[in-house]
């Protein structure tokens, strides 16, 4: 159990001081000589691209990894954190990006797991019930203690994670990309909770790649780039542009510059489309829309409102009912096939690129050829696959899309998220399709690569292609699309012209407040 932590933190003593922390995984140095001071009673943001070393650093602080060298000081006392138990005793709580909850347990059971008071559960459960009551009134953290986790929304599940940390008397709360799965309203509520915690003297470390959140919520911000801590600045003395530059190491255009769309004929028409998932639940409840040549239709919404099922149905992965026609040709929805989709000149960049877009243990050149391996250009005169041609083609495409490293024989697993996405894009876009379906184009992708991907999408639009873009990132929807529909609970609840709407309006629609 944790020691009594009731004494007030001295305002002068920093909550955490890291001194010269280094950590290597084989040849890769994830953290290089990192020093960081986090003051008590502040919200401290940490930004950086994927692979910059933020997660590694936090894992060291939470006892998941052991640093190769360097020291950790918690309130001026040198502390060794060999495991998570030690981190918890030192008053550190962590809310992971992927929640660490037991889904078929109740809230209470999850809260006490690992922090039980004795061999029997009865007393721990009633004690936790009392404490949860207190915490929920103190910090706006209401949640039904007897609810089963899997029946709770992600926003509430996240609250359970915070409660878990507070129940263990955490004074320092680390949150890793906490808003990725939240509606804008839920995210606002979260930040209110965090500010509340700060005002009560707790220290919050917020790891995110969303610069807007850093600007809105933090007091101080530290930037990491390729394993190094490049800057720590007061938030009110910096700007998103400055932070982006510090993260990437060069100037970055955060906003895509694009002309007004010149929409042409209807390319893809969808009527009363219904999609049922494996469990027999209706996930897309009869939606109708169309996309014209030369425009980008955005589908916004919080993850899990049927967008994935919609994309998978359009992409030929999933059975559906209704009508989907491409330039007047109806697709077979009863027995869909990816081949038919490709034959209709539809390219699909799936949301979950690692599961649906790539075979992780195959090489880059194989992955670039997949789905098109039967095409004449990849075949030899015997009708067999011509590997040499495929490799040549892969090499060209990788060069054009600036995939790094440019080694076509490397397994896809070994590329970074952004480069994996570029591989998929290279395969799909270079076919010169008429229609592009693209889901979460920049999820897990570095800022530098985001800029590239966004420009490619705009370029396709300007070439007169019809594009459907599904994204949970409102900023992306607002900066890329020409029209936007919000998906909520399997329905399209609002159609807007993108330049005539704003984040607030879309946020309300995403939360189910229909017009």
């Amino acid at each position: 159990m944790t020691k009594d932590k009731q004494e007030r933190p001295e305002t002068a003593a920093p909550a955490i001081q890291l001194k010269n922390i280094s950590k290597s995984f084989g040849p890769v140095q994830a953290n290089k000589n990192i020093s960081l001071t986090v003051n008590s009673g502040t919200i401290h943001g940490i930004v950086g691209e994927n692979g910059a070393g933020k997660s590694t650093l936090m894992s060291i602080l939470y006892g998941f990894y052991k640093a190769d060298s360097g020291d950790i000081y918690i309130r001026n006392a040198k502390t060794s954190i060999p495991d998570s138990q030690a981190a918890i005793s030192a008053g550190i709580g962590m809310v992971f990006q992927h929640f660490k909850l037991v889904e078929n347990f109740t809230v209470l059971e999850n809260v006490i797991l690992g922090a039980e008071d004795g061999a029997l559960l009865k007393d721990s459960l009633s004690k936790a019930r009392r404490q949860l009551q207190e915490l929920s009134t103190e910090y706006e953290l209401d949640v039904d203690p007897d609810a089963i986790i899997e029946n709770l929304s992600v926003g509430l599940q996240q609250r359970v994670e915070i409660l878990k940390a507070l129940y263990r008397r955490a004074n320092i709360l680390i949150l890793d990309e906490p808003t990725g799965v939240l509606t804008p309203a839920e995210a606002d509520h979260l930040f209110r909770i965090l500010k509340n915690l700060r005002d009560q003297g707790k220290t919050v470390i917020l790891i995110t790649h969303k610069l807007r959140e850093i600007m809105d919520a933090t007091d101080t911000v530290s930037v990491m780039r390729s394993g190094e801590m490049t800057a720590t600045i007061k938030t009110n003395q910096t700007s998103p542009e400055k932070l982006a530059e510090l993260m990437v190491g060069r100037k970055v255009l955060l906003n895509v510059s694009k002309s007004v769309a010149k929409a042409g004929d209807i390319a893809l028409e969808v009527k009363d489309l219904k999609v049922t998932d494996e469990k027999g639940v209706l996930r897309v409840k009869g939606i109708t829309f169309n996309v014209r040549e030369g425009e980008i239709l955005g589908i916004a919404g919080v993850a899990g409102n049927g967008q994935s099922e919609l994309l998978e149905a359009l992409g030929g992965f999933r059975k559906s009912q209704g009508l989907v026609s491409v330039y007047g040709h109806s697709l077979d929805l009863e027995s869909p096939s990816g081949q038919e989709i490709r034959d209709q000149s539809i390219a699909h960049v799936p949301e979950d690129r690692q599961r649906l877009g790539l075979i992780m243990d195959f090489t880059a050149w194989e992955n670039i050829g997949f789905g098109y391996q039967h095409e004449p250009e990849y075949s030899n005169s015997w009708g067999l696959m011509n590997n040499r041609k495929m490799r040549k083609d892969a090499s060209n495409k990788m060069e054009k899309f600036d995939v790094r490293p440019s080694n076509i024989k490397l397994k896809v697993r070994n590329f970074s998220g952004g480069n994996q996405q570029k591989l998929v894009l290279a395969r799909e876009i270079e076919r010169n399709p008429d229609i592009l379906l693209i889901g979460q184009p920049t999820r897990g992708v570095d800022i530098g690569a985001i800029e590239f991907i966004h420009n490619e999408i705009i370029k396709m639009r300007d070439e007169g292609k019809a594009i459907i873009l599904v994204s949970v990132e409102l900023d992306e929807i607002l900066s890329l699309t020409d029209r936007v529909s919000v998906m909520f609970d399997g329905n399209l609840v609002g159609d807007r012209i993108t330049r005539e709407t704003n984040a607030r309006e879309l946020g309300l629609l995403m939360g189910g407040e229909t017009d």
Binding site: Y62, A87, M94, E109, L113, A115, L121
Partner: protein, 322 residues
Amino acid sequence: MIDFDTLLQVLDSSVRLSIPLLLACLAGLFSERAGIFDIGLEGKMLASAFAAGAAAFVTGSALIGMLAGIFASIILSAVHGVASITFKGNQLISGVAINFLASGLTALIGQNWFRQGGQTPPLSGSARFNEITLPLAELLRDVPIFGKIYYELISGHTLLVYIAFLIVPLTWWILFRTRFGLRLRAVGENPAAVDTSGISVVRQRYAAILICGILCGLAGAYLSTGIGAGFGKEMTAGKGFIALAALIFAKWKPVPALWACLLFGFLEAIGIRFQNIEIPGVGTIPLQLMQALPYILTVIILAGFVGKAIPPKAGGEPYNKE
């Protein structure tokens, strides 16, 4: 057609036949609830049956036999643990290997020691668990219905039968009312949740496997020194797999596991008792069909005809940080 006495006899033998299944099923329950799939229940039971039979013969004590059986079973459990927890190997393959190992070793060592074609010599007297007559049973046996049920069905089993029945509520209590049970269920559902709470996933899973070993040991000892009188080659005859089917049927819950195992025991008992059933117009049901009943039910259960069973979410997967 079936009179009351016959019914009681069939039920009585259902109870006896279901005990090894029940013990193995609860063994599997502990293991699988902690996320370690255990296809090696069969092999552990077999090894334990042999060790119990051999030790009971040598020492003349059923109790020492039982301890030897438990020991043998725990050793195999430990092998499974090292392979699947420490070295993160494939749990199915490790389980299959244990089954082969047990099947081969028991026959080989049995032949080498006792020279009776892989069997152990027949056991008698204190080398077996003897039937316990419960208090008042003799007195009440002539009371119609209830007295008879008490005498025939409830009284007159070996110690292990009563222990097995007591383990059912005990398992429930451990799983759902204790810290140990909470953590055990948690490592089977989401080991990362346990790990991030600062609790060792590895230790928790080994503890589960240890209990699994003990219970399989009891099941094996019962086969050779309780219901049987000595070890016979391959005497488990697929009971470990039937126990797994019962576990799935029971959706990994202790009390339903009891009913599932009793059902399998009942089918087996029917197969033994009614070997030549005449059905008018159809003819005699072949003996083989009657004896195959438990296996047929196993196939039906595993094919998913009795509703969807959702196994512990992290089952079968070694735990890797990140």
